[in-house]
Symmetry: C2
Protein backbone atom coordinates (compact mmCIF):
# COMPACT_ATOMS: atom_id res chain seq x y z
CA UNK A 1 0.00 0.00 0.00
CA UNK A 2 1.78 3.17 -1.14
CA UNK A 3 1.03 6.72 -0.07
CA UNK A 4 2.31 10.25 -0.63
CA UNK A 5 3.18 10.78 3.00
CA UNK A 6 4.83 8.97 5.89
CA UNK A 7 2.14 8.06 8.42
CA UNK A 8 2.42 7.47 12.16
CA UNK A 9 -0.35 5.29 13.55
CA UNK A 10 -0.66 6.32 17.17
CA UNK A 11 -3.02 6.97 20.08
CA UNK A 12 -3.09 10.19 22.07
CA UNK A 13 -3.14 8.45 25.45
CA UNK A 14 -0.53 5.82 24.52
CA UNK A 15 2.79 6.41 26.32
CA UNK A 16 4.71 4.62 23.57
CA UNK A 17 3.09 6.86 20.95
CA UNK A 18 4.11 9.89 23.00
CA UNK A 19 7.76 8.77 22.98
CA UNK A 20 7.68 9.07 19.18
CA UNK A 21 5.66 12.31 19.07
CA UNK A 22 8.12 14.09 21.39
CA UNK A 23 11.05 12.76 19.35
CA UNK A 24 9.52 14.15 16.14
CA UNK A 25 8.79 17.52 17.78
CA UNK A 26 12.38 17.80 19.06
CA UNK A 27 13.69 17.14 15.54
CA UNK A 28 11.07 19.43 13.99
CA UNK A 29 9.89 16.67 11.63
CA UNK A 30 6.37 16.42 10.27
CA UNK A 31 4.49 13.24 9.47
CA UNK A 32 0.81 12.49 9.04
CA UNK A 33 -0.72 11.28 12.30
CA UNK A 34 -3.34 8.55 12.00
CA UNK A 35 -5.26 7.90 15.22
CA UNK A 36 -5.90 4.32 16.34
CA UNK A 37 -8.87 4.08 18.71
CA UNK A 38 -7.70 1.83 21.53
CA UNK A 39 -11.01 2.30 23.38
CA UNK A 40 -12.74 0.70 20.39
CA UNK A 41 -10.01 -2.01 20.22
CA UNK A 42 -9.04 -0.81 16.76
CA UNK A 43 -5.52 -2.22 17.31
CA UNK A 44 -7.03 -5.71 17.06
CA UNK A 45 -8.76 -5.00 13.73
CA UNK A 46 -7.69 -6.92 10.66
CA UNK A 47 -6.58 -3.69 8.97
CA UNK A 48 -4.27 -2.71 11.80
CA UNK A 49 -2.92 -6.23 12.34
CA UNK A 50 -1.84 -6.21 8.71
CA UNK A 51 0.57 -3.38 9.46
CA UNK A 52 1.50 -4.42 12.99
CA UNK A 53 1.02 -8.10 13.94
CA UNK A 54 1.86 -7.26 17.56
CA UNK A 55 -1.28 -5.06 17.58
CA UNK A 56 0.40 -2.20 19.40
CA UNK A 57 0.83 1.49 18.70
CA UNK A 58 2.76 3.27 17.39
CA UNK A 59 3.60 2.03 13.90
CA UNK A 60 5.34 4.09 11.24
CA UNK A 61 4.31 3.37 7.65
CA UNK A 62 6.62 4.65 4.91
CA UNK A 63 5.42 5.78 1.48
CA UNK A 64 6.25 2.38 -0.06
CA UNK A 65 4.15 0.63 2.59
CA UNK A 66 7.05 -0.58 4.77
CA UNK A 67 5.77 -0.78 8.34
CA UNK A 68 8.13 -0.11 11.24
CA UNK A 69 6.95 -0.96 14.74
CA UNK A 70 8.70 -0.63 18.13
CA UNK A 71 9.68 2.80 19.43
CA UNK A 72 13.49 2.40 19.25
CA UNK A 73 13.14 1.19 15.64
CA UNK A 74 11.00 4.17 14.63
CA UNK A 75 13.46 6.50 16.32
CA UNK A 76 16.38 4.83 14.52
CA UNK A 77 14.68 5.39 11.16
CA UNK A 78 14.22 9.12 11.77
CA UNK A 79 17.68 9.60 13.30
CA UNK A 80 19.37 7.96 10.29
CA UNK A 81 17.19 9.68 7.69
CA UNK A 82 17.40 13.09 9.44
CA UNK A 83 20.62 13.28 11.45
CA UNK A 84 20.20 16.97 12.39
CA UNK A 85 19.36 17.65 16.04
CA UNK A 86 20.65 14.22 17.13
CA UNK A 87 18.69 12.47 19.88
CA UNK A 88 20.40 9.06 19.73
CA UNK A 89 23.92 10.30 20.46
CA UNK A 90 26.93 11.35 18.39
CA UNK A 91 29.86 9.09 17.52
CA UNK A 92 30.26 5.40 18.43
CA UNK A 93 30.62 5.98 22.18
CA UNK A 94 27.92 8.65 22.38
CA UNK A 95 25.47 6.49 20.42
CA UNK A 96 26.19 3.46 22.60
CA UNK A 97 25.69 5.43 25.81
CA UNK A 98 22.30 6.77 24.68
CA UNK A 99 21.19 3.23 23.77
CA UNK A 100 22.37 2.03 27.20
CA UNK A 101 20.73 4.74 29.29
CA UNK A 102 17.51 4.82 27.31
CA UNK A 103 17.24 1.06 27.63
CA UNK A 104 17.83 1.14 31.38
CA UNK A 105 15.07 3.72 31.78
CA UNK A 106 12.78 1.57 29.68
CA UNK A 107 13.55 -1.75 31.38
CA UNK A 108 13.65 -0.49 34.97
CA UNK A 109 11.04 2.26 34.78
CA UNK A 110 8.77 2.30 31.76
CA UNK A 111 8.36 -1.50 31.54
CA UNK A 112 7.73 -1.74 35.29
CA UNK A 113 4.91 0.82 35.15
CA UNK A 114 3.45 -0.92 32.09
CA UNK A 115 3.59 -4.33 33.75
CA UNK A 116 1.90 -2.99 36.87
CA UNK A 117 -0.86 -1.31 34.91
CA UNK A 118 -1.52 -4.23 32.58
CA UNK A 119 -1.78 -6.68 35.46
CA UNK A 120 -4.11 -4.39 37.42
CA UNK A 121 -6.64 -2.83 35.03
CA UNK A 122 -9.92 -4.82 34.92
CA UNK A 123 -10.48 -4.36 31.16
CA UNK A 124 -7.07 -6.02 30.50
CA UNK A 125 -8.01 -9.13 32.48
CA UNK A 126 -6.92 -11.52 29.72
CA UNK A 127 -4.46 -9.16 28.04
CA UNK A 128 -1.73 -8.82 30.66
CA UNK A 129 0.93 -8.68 27.96
CA UNK A 130 0.53 -6.61 24.79
CA UNK A 131 0.64 -8.52 21.55
CA UNK A 132 -1.30 -11.05 19.56
CA UNK A 133 -1.74 -13.61 22.35
CA UNK A 134 -3.90 -13.42 25.47
CA UNK A 135 -2.34 -13.85 28.92
CA UNK A 136 -4.11 -13.73 32.27
CA UNK A 137 -3.18 -11.14 34.84
CA UNK A 138 -0.95 -12.11 37.79
CA UNK A 139 -1.93 -9.91 40.75
CA UNK A 140 1.45 -10.40 42.48
CA UNK A 141 3.02 -8.36 39.72
CA UNK A 142 1.22 -5.20 40.83
CA UNK A 143 3.13 -4.87 44.10
CA UNK A 144 6.39 -5.99 42.55
CA UNK A 145 5.99 -3.34 39.87
CA UNK A 146 5.46 -0.68 42.54
CA UNK A 147 8.66 -1.76 44.29
CA UNK A 148 10.51 -1.59 40.98
CA UNK A 149 9.23 1.91 40.20
CA UNK A 150 10.21 3.11 43.70
CA UNK A 151 13.73 1.72 43.20
CA UNK A 152 13.88 3.23 39.73
CA UNK A 153 13.06 6.68 41.11
CA UNK A 154 15.79 6.36 43.74
CA UNK A 155 18.40 5.10 41.29
CA UNK A 156 17.77 7.79 38.70
CA UNK A 157 17.57 10.52 41.33
CA UNK A 158 21.13 9.51 42.25
CA UNK A 159 22.15 9.51 38.58
CA UNK A 160 20.72 13.02 38.08
CA UNK A 161 22.76 14.43 40.97
CA UNK A 162 25.79 13.66 38.77
CA UNK A 163 24.71 14.66 35.26
CA UNK A 164 22.25 17.22 33.82
CA UNK A 165 20.51 14.73 31.50
CA UNK A 166 19.92 10.98 31.75
CA UNK A 167 22.61 9.99 29.23
CA UNK A 168 25.08 12.72 30.27
CA UNK A 169 25.58 16.31 29.12
CA UNK A 170 23.01 16.44 26.31
CA UNK A 171 19.26 16.00 26.07
CA UNK A 172 18.53 12.68 24.32
CA UNK A 173 15.96 9.98 23.73
CA UNK A 174 16.77 8.70 27.24
CA UNK A 175 15.20 11.88 28.64
CA UNK A 176 12.13 11.36 26.46
CA UNK A 177 11.54 7.87 27.84
CA UNK A 178 12.20 9.14 31.38
CA UNK A 179 9.68 11.97 31.06
CA UNK A 180 7.02 9.73 29.56
CA UNK A 181 7.65 7.16 32.31
CA UNK A 182 7.22 9.72 35.10
CA UNK A 183 3.97 11.07 33.63
CA UNK A 184 2.69 7.53 32.98
CA UNK A 185 3.52 6.41 36.53
CA UNK A 186 1.81 9.46 38.03
CA UNK A 187 -1.31 9.19 35.87
CA UNK A 188 -1.91 5.44 35.62
CA UNK A 189 -0.06 4.03 38.62
CA UNK A 190 -0.46 6.76 41.26
CA UNK A 191 3.29 7.04 41.65
CA UNK A 192 4.48 10.60 41.23
CA UNK A 193 8.13 11.53 41.88
CA UNK A 194 8.65 11.15 45.67
CA UNK A 195 9.56 14.33 47.62
CA UNK A 196 12.96 12.84 48.54
CA UNK A 197 14.00 12.74 44.86
CA UNK A 198 15.05 16.39 44.51
CA UNK A 199 17.46 15.94 41.62
CA UNK A 200 14.91 13.96 39.64
CA UNK A 201 12.24 16.61 40.30
CA UNK A 202 14.56 19.42 39.14
CA UNK A 203 15.38 17.42 36.02
CA UNK A 204 11.65 16.88 35.46
CA UNK A 205 10.78 20.57 35.81
CA UNK A 206 13.49 21.49 33.30
CA UNK A 207 12.58 18.85 30.72
CA UNK A 208 8.80 19.17 31.05
CA UNK A 209 9.16 22.87 30.12
CA UNK A 210 10.41 21.96 26.62
CA UNK A 211 7.76 22.73 23.98
CA UNK A 212 8.08 19.20 22.53
CA UNK A 213 6.53 17.61 25.60
CA UNK A 214 3.03 18.75 24.73
CA UNK A 215 3.21 16.53 21.64
CA UNK B 1 40.92 3.33 34.83
CA UNK B 2 42.69 3.29 31.47
CA UNK B 3 44.02 0.26 29.66
CA UNK B 4 45.77 -0.64 26.41
CA UNK B 5 42.95 -2.82 25.22
CA UNK B 6 39.16 -2.85 25.02
CA UNK B 7 37.85 -5.42 27.51
CA UNK B 8 34.63 -7.39 27.49
CA UNK B 9 33.56 -8.57 30.94
CA UNK B 10 31.48 -11.67 30.32
CA UNK B 11 30.60 -15.15 31.50
CA UNK B 12 30.81 -18.27 29.35
CA UNK B 13 27.36 -19.55 30.35
CA UNK B 14 25.63 -16.13 30.14
CA UNK B 15 23.26 -15.93 27.15
CA UNK B 16 23.63 -12.13 27.03
CA UNK B 17 27.41 -12.48 26.93
CA UNK B 18 27.04 -14.95 24.08
CA UNK B 19 25.01 -12.42 22.07
CA UNK B 20 28.06 -10.15 22.12
CA UNK B 21 30.63 -12.89 21.53
CA UNK B 22 28.83 -14.11 18.38
CA UNK B 23 28.50 -10.51 17.13
CA UNK B 24 32.26 -9.97 17.55
CA UNK B 25 33.06 -13.27 15.83
CA UNK B 26 30.79 -12.40 12.87
CA UNK B 27 32.58 -9.06 12.48
CA UNK B 28 36.02 -10.66 13.04
CA UNK B 29 36.81 -8.21 15.86
CA UNK B 30 39.13 -9.03 18.74
CA UNK B 31 38.83 -7.72 22.28
CA UNK B 32 40.24 -8.95 25.59
CA UNK B 33 37.77 -11.23 27.36
CA UNK B 34 37.63 -10.89 31.14
CA UNK B 35 35.63 -13.65 32.84
CA UNK B 36 33.19 -12.76 35.61
CA UNK B 37 32.49 -15.72 37.89
CA UNK B 38 28.71 -15.74 38.33
CA UNK B 39 28.90 -18.93 40.42
CA UNK B 40 31.03 -16.99 42.93
CA UNK B 41 28.62 -13.98 42.66
CA UNK B 42 31.46 -11.86 41.33
CA UNK B 43 28.90 -9.63 39.57
CA UNK B 44 27.90 -8.33 43.02
CA UNK B 45 31.47 -7.42 44.01
CA UNK B 46 32.35 -3.78 44.62
CA UNK B 47 34.85 -3.88 41.76
CA UNK B 48 32.29 -5.08 39.23
CA UNK B 49 29.52 -2.81 40.48
CA UNK B 50 31.84 0.13 39.84
CA UNK B 51 31.76 -0.66 36.12
CA UNK B 52 28.17 -1.92 35.94
CA UNK B 53 25.76 -0.80 38.67
CA UNK B 54 23.11 -3.18 37.29
CA UNK B 55 25.52 -6.04 38.21
CA UNK B 56 24.95 -7.91 34.98
CA UNK B 57 27.23 -9.25 32.28
CA UNK B 58 28.37 -8.36 29.72
CA UNK B 59 30.01 -4.95 30.07
CA UNK B 60 32.39 -3.43 27.55
CA UNK B 61 35.13 -1.21 28.99
CA UNK B 62 36.94 1.07 26.54
CA UNK B 63 40.60 2.08 26.89
CA UNK B 64 39.66 5.38 28.58
CA UNK B 65 37.59 3.50 31.16
CA UNK B 66 34.16 4.26 29.67
CA UNK B 67 31.87 1.36 30.57
CA UNK B 68 29.08 0.32 28.20
CA UNK B 69 26.46 -2.11 29.47
CA UNK B 70 23.40 -3.62 27.75
CA UNK B 71 23.80 -5.84 24.69
CA UNK B 72 22.21 -3.50 22.08
CA UNK B 73 24.43 -0.66 23.33
CA UNK B 74 27.61 -2.74 23.06
CA UNK B 75 26.55 -3.83 19.57
CA UNK B 76 25.87 -0.24 18.57
CA UNK B 77 29.36 0.77 19.66
CA UNK B 78 31.04 -1.91 17.53
CA UNK B 79 28.76 -1.38 14.53
CA UNK B 80 29.47 2.37 14.47
CA UNK B 81 33.21 1.99 15.14
CA UNK B 82 33.59 -0.90 12.66
CA UNK B 83 30.89 -0.65 9.97
CA UNK B 84 32.27 -3.50 7.84
CA UNK B 85 30.19 -6.71 7.86
CA UNK B 86 27.10 -4.86 9.08
CA UNK B 87 24.87 -6.72 11.55
CA UNK B 88 22.53 -3.87 12.49
CA UNK B 89 21.22 -3.18 9.00
CA UNK B 90 22.13 -0.85 6.14
CA UNK B 91 20.42 2.49 5.45
CA UNK B 92 17.66 4.13 7.53
CA UNK B 93 15.00 1.53 6.69
CA UNK B 94 17.32 -1.47 6.96
CA UNK B 95 18.64 -0.29 10.32
CA UNK B 96 15.15 0.34 11.65
CA UNK B 97 13.94 -3.12 10.58
CA UNK B 98 16.84 -4.87 12.31
CA UNK B 99 16.14 -2.92 15.51
CA UNK B 100 12.46 -3.88 15.23
CA UNK B 101 12.94 -7.60 14.60
CA UNK B 102 15.78 -8.02 17.06
CA UNK B 103 13.68 -6.31 19.71
CA UNK B 104 10.66 -8.51 19.02
CA UNK B 105 12.81 -11.62 19.39
CA UNK B 106 14.20 -10.25 22.63
CA UNK B 107 10.87 -9.16 24.13
CA UNK B 108 8.79 -12.14 23.05
CA UNK B 109 11.42 -14.89 23.23
CA UNK B 110 14.61 -14.11 25.06
CA UNK B 111 12.97 -12.11 27.88
CA UNK B 112 10.27 -14.76 28.32
CA UNK B 113 12.83 -17.53 28.79
CA UNK B 114 14.83 -15.34 31.17
CA UNK B 115 11.73 -14.49 33.21
CA UNK B 116 10.75 -18.14 33.46
CA UNK B 117 14.22 -19.22 34.54
CA UNK B 118 14.73 -16.43 37.07
CA UNK B 119 11.38 -17.12 38.72
CA UNK B 120 12.03 -20.88 38.88
CA UNK B 121 15.65 -21.48 39.88
CA UNK B 122 16.03 -22.03 43.66
CA UNK B 123 19.30 -20.10 43.99
CA UNK B 124 17.59 -16.98 42.53
CA UNK B 125 14.86 -17.06 45.19
CA UNK B 126 15.24 -13.38 46.07
CA UNK B 127 16.77 -12.29 42.75
CA UNK B 128 13.86 -12.79 40.33
CA UNK B 129 14.91 -9.69 38.37
CA UNK B 130 18.55 -8.97 37.48
CA UNK B 131 19.94 -5.73 38.82
CA UNK B 132 20.90 -4.06 42.05
CA UNK B 133 17.64 -4.70 43.92
CA UNK B 134 16.26 -7.98 45.24
CA UNK B 135 12.81 -9.19 44.17
CA UNK B 136 11.06 -12.36 45.26
CA UNK B 137 10.08 -14.99 42.72
CA UNK B 138 6.47 -15.22 41.53
CA UNK B 139 5.77 -18.89 40.68
CA UNK B 140 2.84 -17.98 38.38
CA UNK B 141 5.37 -16.48 35.97
CA UNK B 142 6.91 -19.87 35.22
CA UNK B 143 3.84 -21.21 33.39
CA UNK B 144 3.12 -17.87 31.75
CA UNK B 145 6.69 -17.79 30.43
CA UNK B 146 6.27 -21.28 28.95
CA UNK B 147 3.10 -20.15 27.17
CA UNK B 148 4.95 -17.12 25.83
CA UNK B 149 7.86 -19.19 24.54
CA UNK B 150 5.46 -21.63 22.84
CA UNK B 151 3.70 -18.71 21.12
CA UNK B 152 7.04 -17.19 20.19
CA UNK B 153 8.13 -20.41 18.48
CA UNK B 154 4.88 -20.53 16.50
CA UNK B 155 5.03 -16.86 15.48
CA UNK B 156 8.64 -16.98 14.32
CA UNK B 157 8.16 -20.30 12.56
CA UNK B 158 5.50 -18.49 10.49
CA UNK B 159 7.87 -15.56 9.91
CA UNK B 160 10.63 -17.91 8.71
CA UNK B 161 8.39 -19.51 6.11
CA UNK B 162 8.43 -16.06 4.41
CA UNK B 163 12.03 -14.87 4.76
CA UNK B 164 15.42 -16.61 5.04
CA UNK B 165 16.56 -14.64 8.08
CA UNK B 166 14.66 -13.06 10.98
CA UNK B 167 14.97 -9.47 9.74
CA UNK B 168 14.61 -10.35 6.03
CA UNK B 169 17.15 -11.30 3.38
CA UNK B 170 20.36 -10.88 5.36
CA UNK B 171 21.83 -12.41 8.49
CA UNK B 172 21.70 -9.84 11.30
CA UNK B 173 21.78 -9.31 15.04
CA UNK B 174 18.15 -10.48 15.08
CA UNK B 175 19.36 -13.95 14.11
CA UNK B 176 21.97 -13.85 16.88
CA UNK B 177 19.35 -13.16 19.54
CA UNK B 178 17.08 -15.83 18.02
CA UNK B 179 19.80 -18.48 18.07
CA UNK B 180 20.84 -17.64 21.63
CA UNK B 181 17.18 -17.71 22.70
CA UNK B 182 16.58 -21.17 21.21
CA UNK B 183 19.69 -22.63 22.85
CA UNK B 184 18.86 -20.93 26.18
CA UNK B 185 15.26 -22.21 26.09
CA UNK B 186 16.42 -25.76 25.31
CA UNK B 187 19.16 -25.82 27.95
CA UNK B 188 17.62 -23.92 30.87
CA UNK B 189 13.88 -24.15 30.24
CA UNK B 190 13.48 -27.60 28.61
CA UNK B 191 11.82 -26.03 25.58
CA UNK B 192 13.52 -27.09 22.38
CA UNK B 193 12.05 -26.12 18.99
CA UNK B 194 8.81 -28.14 18.64
CA UNK B 195 8.62 -30.69 15.76
CA UNK B 196 5.79 -28.69 14.14
CA UNK B 197 8.09 -25.69 13.60
CA UNK B 198 9.82 -26.90 10.47
CA UNK B 199 10.80 -23.51 9.09
CA UNK B 200 12.29 -22.45 12.41
CA UNK B 201 14.23 -25.73 12.65
CA UNK B 202 15.61 -25.30 9.11
CA UNK B 203 16.64 -21.74 9.96
CA UNK B 204 18.26 -23.02 13.16
CA UNK B 205 20.26 -25.71 11.40
CA UNK B 206 21.55 -23.18 8.87
CA UNK B 207 22.49 -20.50 11.42
CA UNK B 208 23.91 -22.86 14.05
CA UNK B 209 26.39 -24.09 11.42
CA UNK B 210 28.06 -20.66 11.23
CA UNK B 211 31.52 -20.75 12.88
CA UNK B 212 30.63 -17.67 15.01
CA UNK B 213 28.11 -19.62 17.05
CA UNK B 214 30.76 -21.51 19.00
CA UNK B 215 31.89 -18.17 20.47
Amino acid sequence: MSSDTIRLYHATASPNSRRVRIFLAEKALNVAFVPVDLGQQEQHSEAYRAINPRRVVPTLVLTDGTAIGEVPAIWRYFEEAHPARPLLGVGPVGKALVVMWERRVELEGFAAVMEGVRNAVPRLKDRAIAGSHGYEQIPGLIDRSKQRVANFYGDFDARLTEVPFVAGDEFSAADITMLVTVDFAARAFEMAIPPACGALQRWYDKVAARPSTTA
